[in-house]
């Protein structure tokens, strides 16, 4: 806990936690970029920078028993969910101490203890799994919710439609979280969808659905809380459209020909971290000092994570054929 938070109100503490999560994600990814350039990290890597409010806001709405299903752009989801930074970083390094033992990499983070079910790199591929997790919860009489994150691009896939219908038809507690960052790779929203109001689209399946300013972490948190409460009170899915923006390229190989620098700069004016810090300063909940402390705490967490990752062993090659079938214990 940050020392600066001692004198804080409940709201101040809550905001500090949201801020901390967003800063953790931001710094983690900035470091990943460096490590990618240094070839310590390889494969496809999709950055979340700019979208941190979504992960931070949503994850705080879930309890430890709830489940999360994510995409390939999931560093932020994993960190905010509580997957230890060291084990995420070790995964990026391909070490056996990684959260997926080095088998998964950036796109496939898993942590079964935290009910973090990955890390799915097929667009739309996670939605059916979320439906199934929720189905199991209902059948076993458990009050959990399954949060399923996906992008605006996934909304065009047939699986989206099948899963929204199934969840609504069977009144399953899936919280569909569409991170609408306006692009699917290089394809702008209006070139992917005939009807671009995605929350409205979802409501046509007969589920509660609304759009949220995904750059405002408190708005996301409030929406997440309200959705989860609704779902725990009466069964059935909810849909949140989180309107957000990615500041960086789609992946490390993207020349960003499809959008202008001005557009990106304009969105940066709505940086979720800046927005929250300004608000907290205005409300006397954040000082230069407490921010420096928070940043320093995150930095040292990150340094440790990198050090641990680097020190982590590689899986022995002889183990190659493991994890194709379950090992009987």
């Amino acid at each position: 806990m940050s020392r600066g938070s001692r004198a804080l109100s409940a709201r101040g503490k809550h905001r500090t936690e949201l801020l901390r999560q967003m800063v953790r994600i931001r710094r983690f990814e900035e470091r990943c970029v460096e490590l990618y350039s240094a070839a310590e990290i390889r494969g496809f890597m999709h950055l979340y920078i700019g979208e941190e409010a979504v992960a931070a806001g949503l994850m705080q709405a879930l309890s430890a028993d709830d489940a999360v299903v994510s995409t390939y752009r999931e560093h932020g989801h994993a960190l905010a969910r509580g997957v230890p930074m060291a084990s995420v970083m070790a995964e990026m390094f391909g070490r056996s101490t990684g959260c997926s033992r080095g088998r998964g990499g950036s796109m496939h983070l898993f942590d079964v203890v935290r009910r973090f079910y990955g890390g799915n790199a097929i667009v739309g591929g996670g939605l059916p799994i979320a439906v199934g997790l929720a189905l199991a919860d209902v059948m076993r009489g458990r009050p959990q919710v399954t949060a399923c994150l996906f992008g605006d691009g996934a909304v065009a896939e047939g699986e989206f439609h099948e899963c929204l219908n199934l969840a609504a038809l069977w009144a399953l507690p899936v919280l569909f979280c569409c991170e609408n960052n306006l692009y699917a790779m290089g394809t702008a929203l209006a070139r992917e969808h005939a009807a671009t109001d995605l929350a409205l689209r979802a409501s046509s399946y007969g589920m509660t659905s609304w759009a949220v300013d995904g750059m405002d972490v408190e708005a996301v948190a409030a929406a997440g809380n309200r959705a989860v409460e609704t779902m725990r009170a009466s069964p059935g899915p909810c849909f949140l459209e989180l309107r957000t923006y990615r500041f960086r390229a789609h992946s490390m190989y993207d020349a960003e020909r499809y959008r202008g620098k001005a557009e990106v700069e304009q969105w940066k004016q709505h940086d979720p971290i800046d927005q929250l810090t300004t608000r907290m300063r205005d409300d006397g909940e954040l000082t230069d000092k407490s921010l420096t402390t928070l940043e320093a705490e995150v930095d040292s967490e990150l340094d440790e994570a990198v050090a641990e990752a680097k020190a982590g062993p590689l899986e022995p090659v002889e183990d190659l054929m493991r994890f194709v079938y379950t090992e009987q214990s």
Partner: protein, 326 residues
Amino acid sequence: MTTVHTTYREAVREALREALRADERVFLMGEDVGRYGGCFAVSLGLLEEFGPDRVRDTPLSESAFVGAGIGAALAGMRPIVEIMTVNFSLLALDQILNNAATLLHMSGGQLSVPLVIRMTTGAGRQLAAQHSHSLEGWYAHIPGLRILTPATLEDARAMLRPALECLDPVLLFEHGSLYNTAGDLAEPADEVDIDTAAIRRAGNDISLITYGGTLPTALAAADQLATDNIQADVVDLRTLRPLDEATILGSVRRTHRVVVVDEGWRSGSLSAEIAARIAEHALYELDAPVERVCTAEVPMPYAKHMEDAALPQADDVVAAARRAVG
């Protein structure tokens, strides 16, 4: 030991009933498994016994409900997902290959997927090009899956239990032409494994290697060959992945001649893998080239005479065996 007279269809149903009774984590889900009574009447009566929660009709959404089976398995259930026929499984292939077969690995061993997917497979009923696929051998290419092809009443009755006990995704292919097969079955059912192939008829002159819907074809061919005093060793693979190489090679070492009978389209069918394994591990045992009797490489025609011509027939097997015996 008491026996009951039953059919393959009833044997599958009895296996489902037993599973649903034995373990409350088990449920059956698929198109028309409930109110309709199952598209081949396999699940008839189960809705009435177990209710709509555990015998769950789904909309036409193969990808979603197969994926939902994966998710439910991750969360501790033991789903049996029925895909009406293998022909429609292509719509769920992404879920099967990219999720069911890989989650354990991608998660570094954290996530087992104890899911059973059943489907009807095969041709022979004039259902034409989109409803006659035999893709079980093709599915056997995918690491992480187990592929079972019960060909006998015993296996129809008994394979489901070990399939459900297995913590990995199992695909169970029931050949449509077998459902009406009738015969006597031990009750309570014998236990079977899902690891080994079975010799359905012993002989030392030639190996007929097959599985599923073509086991009756191979056995009929063996009968014909026996009248010529050619004694065939008929190997029923039972499990297409992982393959029981030892039983295959053991038979070849006894007989030195092989005909593989496989309803898949010839090129790239499971028969190719069988032939390749033999060429790798028992080349010097062979007294004749490996023969393959497969389905002609053509989408299945509707007209009966054409369909018959496209499919492996006992006469084709006999002819191939004669060529091999020389």
